[in-house]
Assembly symmetry: C2
Homo-oligomer: 355 residues x 2
């Protein structure tokens, strides 16, 4: 008896050869070169695929990702990078939507990225981001990309920094980085943008109480959102209070004097003024050289930061250190050992046992 | 002919045997055990010698210094540690003198240490410290020790932290750490004290302009000095402004609400109130557990800080890295390399070439 061909009587879709072909076509990833030419021609689909490649934690993708970033670098760096932070409830999404649409109306191309290390845990904000900026996401001049996921802020920050490069190479001239203000994310965002905007609302008179330490001093502008309707007098008062508080801080290396202003993402009141404010800042800092020197400094910062971070990773994952660390910490906390003497003991073990 | 004895006709002082004995006696250093018992009995001479031992950069002294600190630890940690910072001209020395004399009058024993990494360069402040607090230095209840010298803030910070331990073991119940506000020294001081006091004076209305970023947020109290004579109204106004600014900051983990107050080191007005303020803080934080948990955290901080610092030292002094670093920095600054890709290249070289 003739051996039955298992595919003989099945519809074509079950034919393994055809199936394999379909699967291969689906899995065929564009090469770095294909992604690059897609990005340079402003193809959003290629950009999205490239960002996904960069976000991949599969070590096989690292080299391709690095090649791609490297070839995008000469085409990047022509944008204005704006960081926006503020505690939940101040209306960051609606502000970015209103602000982004205003920029789009001026003929600008806007990419919105978010840094939200917490999104790995809830996975909620990814959906959130997409629905939150519906209008802007539909705008042909805008690209909204939710937060890279990652276990650590360092990982998320790296991915975001490299996504900026890709977006710039794709022709976006305004990059907005939003952060929800979890942990150290504001500091990370501050270290990758040209202009740092703190969004706030008027409240109970304790407007600054929700803001993390040091954030106000980083701000180039404080914007009081929701300045509409009955809320206008309160927002105006808050603006005055913030302006006064900003005045008390040391002057900035940029030569820029931070200001406080009001706006309404609902009525669009004040939105145009914020764009003008940022343009003034860019003009000032490009003229006095601060813009370029800050970007060079930021690049160096991320070089050193990555080194510091990985040296520590290597140390604290060393089996010998992992065995000793908790015990040593306890002894130091309880004043049984001087922190410095204890550090020497651990370091001796680490360097002795190096491969 | 009999060979002449070269020492035969010389006065005894030139006799080499005697001379050697004198030299040996001079050079004979007390043992760690001798220093310890001296310190525990409150012998200032032993304390000074021990601090000098800790400050020594001679590697031969390290082990003895570590032994001494280790044996002092069980007798330390019973003091209140107060950090005092302020820009030049606010009268830090005269304030510490007035404040220290007040504490001495209350029966307290005060040690005053300074952190001034710049003193290595000028060598001026060492003399300065000694003459600046003449009155306090003469007080039998006070011990004034100028800044440890050292090339790096890290080194100075380590020496100061260990000097605190020695002073506490010697029975000092109030340790004042003064910093002149150079570089990152305020942050270092903040990480080794229980209470952080920012000293200021009234000025042109821009009182905060001279203060470095983040310092105000660290302060548990802001004291406006020189509130005497014609200056009282201006100082009172400055106090109000600072109180308002402090109110705008996020609340502290300690549960303490930072306050602003005025004083005069000249008339002693307000000095007693500052002591009461600090006592209240200590009472509050000892009751709510913050005092102990902060000290344990500080110990851990210095353990990790020392490790971070030395890992970096080791990396950046690696010959292979030294050869490449400047070139790599330049390439990264000029956007020829992604900071992350460049970091990987350096790290690969470092770990491959480890002994």
């Amino acid at each position: 008896m003739k051996k039955a061909n298992p595919n003989q009587d099945r519809p074509e879709i079950f034919n393994t050869a055809v199936l394999k072909k379909i699967q291969q076509a689906r899995m065929a990833q564009p090469t770095a070169g294909e992604l690059l030419s897609g990005i340079l021609s402003g193809d959003i689909n290629a950009l999205s695929k490239a960002i996904t490649l960069i976000e991949s934690s599969n070590p096989k993708h690292f080299e391709k990702a690095n090649t791609l970033i490297h070839s995008c670098l000469p085409h990047a760096n022509q944008s204005v990078r704006i960081g926006i932070t503020g505690i939940p409830g101040v209306g960051k999404s609606s502000f970015i939507e209103a602000f982004g649409k205003h920029l789009s109306g001026l003929g600008k191309k806007i990419a919105v990225l978010t840094i939200d290390p917490s999104s790995t845990i809830s996975h909620g904000s990814i959906l959130g981001d997409k629905t939150r900026m519906e209008e802007l996401a539909k705008d042909p001049n805008a690209y909204v990309r939710p937060s890279a996921s990652g276990e650590t802020l360092g990982g998320v920050a790296r991915k975001t920094r490299e996504t900026i490069v890709l977006c710039e190479a794709a022709g976006f001239d305004t990059i907005i980085i939003e952060t929800v203000g979890v942990g150290q994310s504001e500091t990370a965002v501050h270290s990758m943008v040209d202009f740092f905007l703190l969004l706030n609302v008027s409240g109970t008179g304790d407007e600054l109480q929700g803001i993390k330490r040091g954030i106000m001093e980083m701000a180039d502008a404080i914007v009081i959102n929701k300045a509409d309707g009955d809320n206008i007098p309160k927002a105006t008062l808050a603006r005055t209070q913030f302006a006064h508080a900003l005045h008390l801080f040391p002057s900035k290396k940029s030569g820029w004097i931070p200001t406080a202003t009001t706006c309404s993402a609902k009525t669009n009141e004040g939105i145009a003024e914020i764009e003008q404010l940022i343009s003034k800042y860019i003009e000032l800092t490009k003229n006095n050289g601060f813009f370029d020197s800050k970007r060079a400094e930021q690049n160096e910062f991320w070089l050193l930061e990555t080194i510091h971070h990985q040296l520590q990773e290597h140390f604290f994952h060393h089996p010998e250190i992992q065995k000793e660390l908790e015990k040593t910490k306890k002894a130091v906390q309880n004043n049984e050992y001087s922190p410095f003497a204890a550090a020497q003991l651990l370091l001796k073990k680490y360097f002795k046992n190096k491969p």
